[in-house]
């Protein structure tokens, strides 16, 4: 695994303002960070860039969050995946964990917490 500071992180969320802010914040912390706003975009980036960590929202349109987890797991077997969801639906969290996500967070996730779990996942 590469050093945390150069790690490539992919953030997927349909809330553009949020992705934008997260990307800028994480770049400030020294990560290489890209954002995607839907599953198609995310899957393209997974194929093209092979990120070292994927953070994805589960409540994307078409509930495609779990699909992204599957895709990452199929292509990148050891890449840590962190899922976030505002939906209080245990089923979605469990499906994501079953599909290979490492960690499930309930939104809203504070930036401090995001930094902490990213640090742990890449350690």
């Amino acid at each position: 695994m590469p050093m945390a500071a150069q790690a490539k992180i992919l953030i997927v969320d349909d809330e553009r303002d949020l992705v934008d802010a997260y990307v800028r914040l994480l770049e400030r912390s020294g990560y290489r960070c890209t954002g995607a706003f839907d599953a198609n975009q995310a899957i393209q980036m997974i194929d093209a860039e092979s990120p070292d960590l994927v953070i994805t929202d589960l409540s994307l349109p078409d509930n495609s969050g779990v699909e992204i987890v599957r895709r990452v797991r199929a292509k990148l077997p050891v890449t840590p995946i962190i899922v976030m969801s505002g939906h209080n639906t245990p089923g979605l969290h469990e499906a994501a964990l079953a599909a290979g996500a490492h960690l499930s967070l309930l939104k809203p996730v504070s930036i401090a917490e995001l930094r902490r779990v990213i640090g742990e996942a890449l350690a």
């Binding site: 303002d17 802010a21 505002g86 309930l106 504070s110």
Partner: protein, 452 residues
Amino acid sequence: MNRLFNDRGHPIGLALFYVFGCFVWLAICVRVLSLLPPHSWALNVCVNTLLVYLVVSHYTKRIRILDAAQEEALLRARGYFESSVEGIISADGAGRIRQVNPRGQELFGYDESELVGQPIEVLVPQRFHYRHEAHRDGFFKAPRSRMMGRGMEIAGRRKDGSEFPAEISLNVVHSRRGELIIAFVADISERLAMEREARRNETVDALAAVAAGVAHELNNPLAVMAARIELMLASDQDLSAETREDMLVLQKNIERASRISHSMLSVARQRPGVRYAIDINVAVEEAMLMVGAEARGGMLRYETNLDRLLPEVMAERTSLEQVLINLILNARDAGARLIRIQTAPAPGRAGYLQLSVSDDGSGIKSDALGKLFRPFFTTKPKGTGLGLWLSQRIVQDHGGSIAVESVAGKGATFMITLPTIDESSAGDVALPAGDEPPPPQVPAARSNQSGR
């Protein structure tokens, strides 16, 4: 026999019947005598005696049967009257009480002797008197059996002046001595309380669902705001001290809003989590570990008194731990120096256990005591007012109850009563605690703690 005749027919009618009967008897005797050989007095006496005997024995037999049936019917009626779970009150056409059964005496707190002859209104609250009399007159104009005051509030008035909500059905019996009104009275305070509670729960559930929806919608905007403020604070551009101060206040408040949103989401869990048989003591120890009770030295002391022989409870462990964490953190916030956690069989309640958390903190003022479990009620400057409400819901979800005792300035004790396994899982297959599937390898951070 006497009673039979008293209850049937008219005395004059009866006398006429006897006189008429004597004439018939004479006619029969004359007829029979004319058939016999003359001067046969001995035979005449024999035949007459035989006839009298046959007739009398026939009627006595019938009368005996009727009398026994009557006796039994009376006994049965008395049995119904005495043992009825409803109060039974009979009154005459003038509205004067004639009879009150034991349950009726119990309901209204009077002895029968105090009531007989009194107007029925002594059992009706003063404020209904006018209405009641009008209704009573209406009832006598067209008496028929019916429920009293459908759709109206009906209350009974006890001897001590207190009232109880009642359901009353009226029946009319026609007797020789006029109409008899029989009222069946049931005390429905318990049923009303249950209905109120059910309605309240429905409302709370609906509100919780709405609140969770709002909380969910607020999540993203809150997250965006938090992220942007952090970016602004972290950026190199030199913010004035005042602006920075304002931003920090904003940040603090966004965090607070997020906390509220989080609690709301855990309140409206969409389905209950999986329950396992767990040892309540393990949940206590786990919760203490999470709040750092072990590590904390110095001012705050913890004391546990755990009954290791308690039966297990069917529960969602993380939820129960959440309740305990809430209670411990509350005690801490109340400035406790000693927090005592105890598990024991529930006093006077077989099949239940009691878990209590007491502290010697600032206690709860009496006016706050009644509102403690209401949503959004808080005495803490940074509280969301959802912790105890949520705790109560979790405990109730598990078939238990939570209560509090406190004297301002002298600490507080929260007592949770939970059904143990034999009680809550009749019919269920209780899994031993060891069969609980292992938690996910990676710590499931907040999703695990704050319920799903």
